[in-house]
Amino acid sequence: MMKSLILETATKLLFPLLLMFSIFLFLRGHNDPGGGFIGGLVGAAAFALFAISSGTDKARKLLRINPTFMIGLGLFFAILSGVISVMAGTPFLTGQWAFPVVFGADLSLGSPILFDIGVYLVVVGFTLAVIFSLEEEG
């Protein structure tokens, strides 16, 4: 952890921006460059920055869940997206899609998106597990 006022202030500004950017990158991923991995890395960067400027204790508190739990959750989502296809009677990991219109907006919801959420979570969890442990090692 680096004690620096400038860094801390900058982080306060950057953190929400990065987080939003990460979600943006994730969401556009299916149609434009981006996706779970890229989004996840940016999201992790946000927390990593926070951890470096304000300490891992605060970062962990902000994150609320353990990185390892996040990893498990991510894997779980990815498996879930496959199990959905099995329950639909198709081979594992077959894309299942629904196109509901919510508030006038066309949404395309598919199991691959769920899969990508899993990717996102694992990437964030992984990066944070590494950064937190290395930071805490001192």
């Binding site: 299916h30 940016v42 991510g74 498996i79 691959p112 899969f115 992984f126």
Partner: protein, 775 residues
Amino acid sequence: MSVLVAVLLGFVVAVFAPWISRLLKDSAGWALAIVPAGLFAYFASFLPLIASGETFRESTPWVPYINIHFSFYIDGLSLLFALIISGIGTFIVIYGGGYLKGDRDIARFYLSLLMFMGSMLGVVLSDNLLTLFIFWELTSFTSYLLIGYYHEKAASRRAALQALLVTGTGGLAMLGGVILMALAGGSMEITELVNEADVIREHGFYIAILILVCAGAFTKSAQFPFHYWLPAAMEAPTPVSAYLHSATMVKAGVYLLARFNPILGGTDWWLWLVTGFGAVTMVVSAWLALSFTDMKRVLAYSTVMALGTLVMLIGMGHPYAMQAMVVFLLGHSLYKGALFMMAGSVDHEAGTRDVLLLGGLRKVMPYTFAFGTIAALSMAGIPLFLGFIGKELVYEAALGFSPAPVLIIIAAVLANIALVASSGIVIIRPFFGEFKETPKHVHEAPVSMWIGPAVLGVLSLVFGFLPFLLSDYIMVPAASAVAGVPLEFYLAIWHGINLPLILSVVTLLGGILVYKAWDNLRGSVMPGYKTAFATLPEAAYDFSLNSMLSVAYWQTLLFQSGNLRYYVMTIVGFTVLLVGYPLVSKAGIYIPVDWSDIHFYEWLLAGLMIAGVLAAATARSGLIAVISLGVVGYSIALIYLLFSAPDLAITQMLVETLTVILVALVLIKLPGVPREPSPVGRARNIVIAVSAGLMVTLTLFAAFTVPFDPFMAGYFTENSYVIAHGRNIVNVILVDFRALDTLGEITVLAVAGVGIFALIKLHNAVKQAKEEGKI
């Protein structure tokens, strides 16, 4: 009851032996003896059938795919062996019960002994080569356990290992031999191979088969120069020696040669190899017996002498030799079993078996003395004992050996002279003369320990008197089986005054003279003789074992040096060889000529990457290395971007950034990055590294000459939006077309994350636990 059941009975009862032993305590030996006794009776029931010239065969499939069957064959030869094994086995079990009374491991003695007996029966009864081999090896293993019975003594362990390695080597050789034999003869069954004997003897494998099979037989039957393990194995408790080294295990080799005689015998190779080894063993070991004062060693070497005689007889190949072989075999089994038991009784009661420390025991141990004497007289070949008939036949066979009768007859007489002297040593020395004080207070051995010598000794006498009891029922069929053709002969006590009889008289007189001179011999010639023929072969064993170990250590140091960089070097070097050779010789070298489509900035980028890695490789400071690394990484990202891979470019950029951060985070905490210190090492590394790079580049050049078919890309492009509802084809491949890859990929990340966490945190946790004394 089938033969299979009979063979397996020993194994089955063996499993229960420990319980029986615990239950019946000291009388367990008598109870367990029922097993071999019953088997003896069972095998005896075959006598009429065999006597009538018939044979018996049964077969139970085991692994029919590769022709392994439990097939058993009873003819004169196998029946003779089966009777010896079960008959003597009966008395050994009883004797063992007395000898090892109260010993804490006695249950294991019964267990191993019964298993050993089962294995021996398997060896002599098997008709299938592979089951024969399996039983053969089982005798090695069970005898290993028996020889190492006093396993807490280092000498016992050494002797057991020696026996195992020597007979194990032979066993493997034999396996090779029988497999070749099966290939040459087209069958696994010995009875069928006998019919193919001509084919096998003419076959290109013949010499190899012969040598391999003989290696198995000679090691097992302790032929010179592999004989050293047998006397060393006298570390075993005496019941074991009495059984293994008189009547059974060591005779397995003899059995094997006898069994294969109709298949492999009759050639010059066979004649000289088998007869030669046998004769040398016979003479050498007969005299070696005289260089020891330990009763068991004397008996052990005289056993080796007997084995040599038997092997020699098998090699000779003519009918007299076969006849002599079977009679000598039975005679030896009877007297040697009895004598070993006698020696054990003396040792057991007196606390020593060194003949120089013993004397005058005949009064305190009358039964042991009486029956031992009968056996010894048989061994010395005194008329009226079976041993006499055996010896006469040996002489007759030697005389009938046309290629070299004089040589063989001299050898046989010389050996038998020493045998007579040995008989004197083991009987006259301990039992006659003045009574000497011994470590233990001597009294007669219990009945369990003299019943065996009694029966075996008396049988030597009975058969000696009435040899016709034997000849029709068992000896003629047995000799016929060895010869492979029906033989006819008749055993008699008196053959008239002929050359063999004269030789016998010479032998006896010679033996007495040698016995008289024994004390002088021991002081003069014997030590040198012993060194040459007993110590040297054993030293050769030690030497070969040690050199094998040296080679092992040397190659381990060479290959498994513990230096990671040598490992990497070897692997990369091997790869370059493996890939480079076919690349140059088969695929061809292609140097591209058209470089025109490359833009100026692309050249620049390539140059930047090359400069970057070279800087990273030569940097002395960690910081420069990391920065150079970053340059390379970002340049690659640019390449990806230039060639229309935006996702890749972004990912590469992000990962590169993280990589640099991580390396920097770790570098802060570590010392610098020193280079390979020695210039020679550096030069060698450069050569390997450059050739590795060259290999990759040239393979790439070659690969570019093959036209590329992007048919998969076409499919993805067409279906990405239509079926998979995504416009970013790369992303669709990742989360849909090839989602399974991505599933694996995030699993890798997950594990890496958890692993890194554990690497750092568990360290602290373990430290803490250690401090608290939990681990």
